[in-house]
């Protein structure tokens, strides 16, 4: 911002209403089609913003927008921008809230300084700088909010994709689908351990049928999960070992000797049942019925 004192505060003081009205018109022309309710909201916001802008300009019209006098304006824009990001406005629609302010101010300046080309040029330049800075602030805030939404969604997705299933009184199953990276492993471990505590399970079957690749890292993550469950007093079995996986594990030299492994979840369940002292007994069918397995 230029260091010479700007006449902008006075212009705003004198022509606030006119600038606001023109700006609102401009927003509606450049922005998207609004419902009546949205239009009223936009009006209200615009008036509030102009008031805030006027007050900030009065206190400090030459030092840029980062000073304490401009906190109100900054907060307003950051707030508006985040809300619009969450409400599905596009970046352009959000930024044009600010950028469409140029036109009305320029025309007000025209009227004030029309006869004095140098003053008009100076003031126009200052307004340009000001609006650009405000516009950038708005865009950055918009971007930040979008990123936060994405991160939150990623987190939710991660948690949803690792369910823990209770197979029997004290036997849990953890069917893993997809890759097992370190972020996912943390979620898996947390979910599994919490389930062990809540269900007081003695056994957990980790099924890796749905894990496409088992490399050294994945194997390490699996072993970590097994070790953590052990510390909670639950024994782990790994099932769903496909032939290729079995080969990979041996080639990698991963030591699974302390973990019981089975090819299928059913086999693992069988082992867990027996270890916990359960026996599955088939009741004989009535002679007239057909007892299919």
């Amino acid at each position: 911002m230029a260091t010479s004192t700007s006449k902008l505060p006075e212009v705003f003081e004198k022509r606030e209403q006119e600038i606001t009205d023109q700006w609102v018109e401009q927003q509606q022309a450049t922005g998207r089609k609004l419902t009546a309710a949205e239009r009223d909201e936009a009006n209200r916001q615009s008036r509030e913003f102009i008031r805030s802008l006027k007050s900030a300009l009065k206190q400090n019209s030459s030092g840029g927008i980062s000073g304490p006098e401009w906190a109100g304006v900054r907060d307003f824009l950051v707030d508006l921008s985040s809300r619009r990001a969450k409400d599905g406005y596009s970046p352009r629609e959000t930024a044009s809230f600010v950028f469409s302010l140029k036109q009305p101010i320029f025309s007000a300046l025209q009227k004030e300084f029309g006869a004095n080309p140098k003053a008009l040029a100076d003031e126009t330049w200052q307004v340009t700088l000001l609006v650009d800075e405000l516009g950038l602030l708005t865009t950055e805030a918009f971007q930040k909010t979008r990123e936060e939404v994405i991160m939150r969604q990623q987190k939710e997705l991660l948690e949803l994709s690792t369910p823990v299933v209770r197979l029997w009184e004290n036997i849990l199953a953890l069917p893993l689908i997809g890759t097992l990276d370190s972020a996912r492993t943390q979620v898996v471990m947390q979910n599994l351990l919490e389930a062990i505590v809540q269900t007081r399970s003695d056994y957990a079957i980790i099924d890796i049928t749905g894990v496409p690749v088992v490399d050294t890292l994945v194997a390490q993550h699996l072993l970590k999960t097994v070790a953590a469950a052990r510390l909670m007093g639950a024994d782990c079995l790994i099932s769903g070992i496909r032939p290729q996986i079995a080969q990979t594990i041996i080639h990698l030299g991963v030591d699974l000797s302390e973990v019981t492994t089975k090819a299928t979840l059913a086999d693992a369940f069988d082992v867990a049942l027996r270890r916990s002292g359960h026996k599955v007994v088939r009741q004989d069918a009535a002679p007239s019925g057909a007892a299919a397995r």
Binding site: K144, E147, Q186, Q190
Partner: protein, 126 residues
């Protein structure tokens, strides 16, 4: 904070716990950073002859984290590479402390000069 006696290790843990809660770290993340601080505080005491720890919140654009810096004027570490290998197989307490703290943190830095002292800095992002 000063680390001069074993009671101080407890105080360091409590301080780090408090700061990480304030930062909004989840329970597992809190536990990891507090445990790492416990390891390093013990090292500072047992091998560094006592020292200090500095706890600070750092910001990097979108994310924030907790940085802990442990410093002592002790004998220093002659073979850093060795000290950082997982020492638990040899039963070396310091080895596990350093490598353990490293594993529990997102960033780890160590400076040591024999005869001058050691400085270890760990960082855990939110």
């Amino acid at each position: 904070m000063e680390i001069r006696a074993s009671d101080d290790v407890v105080l360091v843990r409590q301080a780090v716990r408090k700061k990480s809660i304030a930062l909004g770290l989840g329970l597992v993340d809190q536990t990891k950073v507090v445990t790492a601080s416990s390891e390093l505080a013990r090292n500072t005491l047992d091998y560094g002859g006592g020292g200090t720890v500095h706890i600070e919140v750092v910001e990097n654009g979108t994310r924030s984290g907790l940085r802990l810096t442990f410093e002592d004027q002790g004998p220093g570490i002659t073979d850093l590479a060795l000290a950082l290998t997982d020492g638990y197989t040899t039963g070396n307490g310091m080895g596990l402390g350093l490598s353990g703290a490293k594993r529990l943190s997102h960033e780890f830095e160590i400076w040591s000069k024999p005869g001058e002292g050691t400085r270890v800095s760990i960082l855990r992002w939110k």
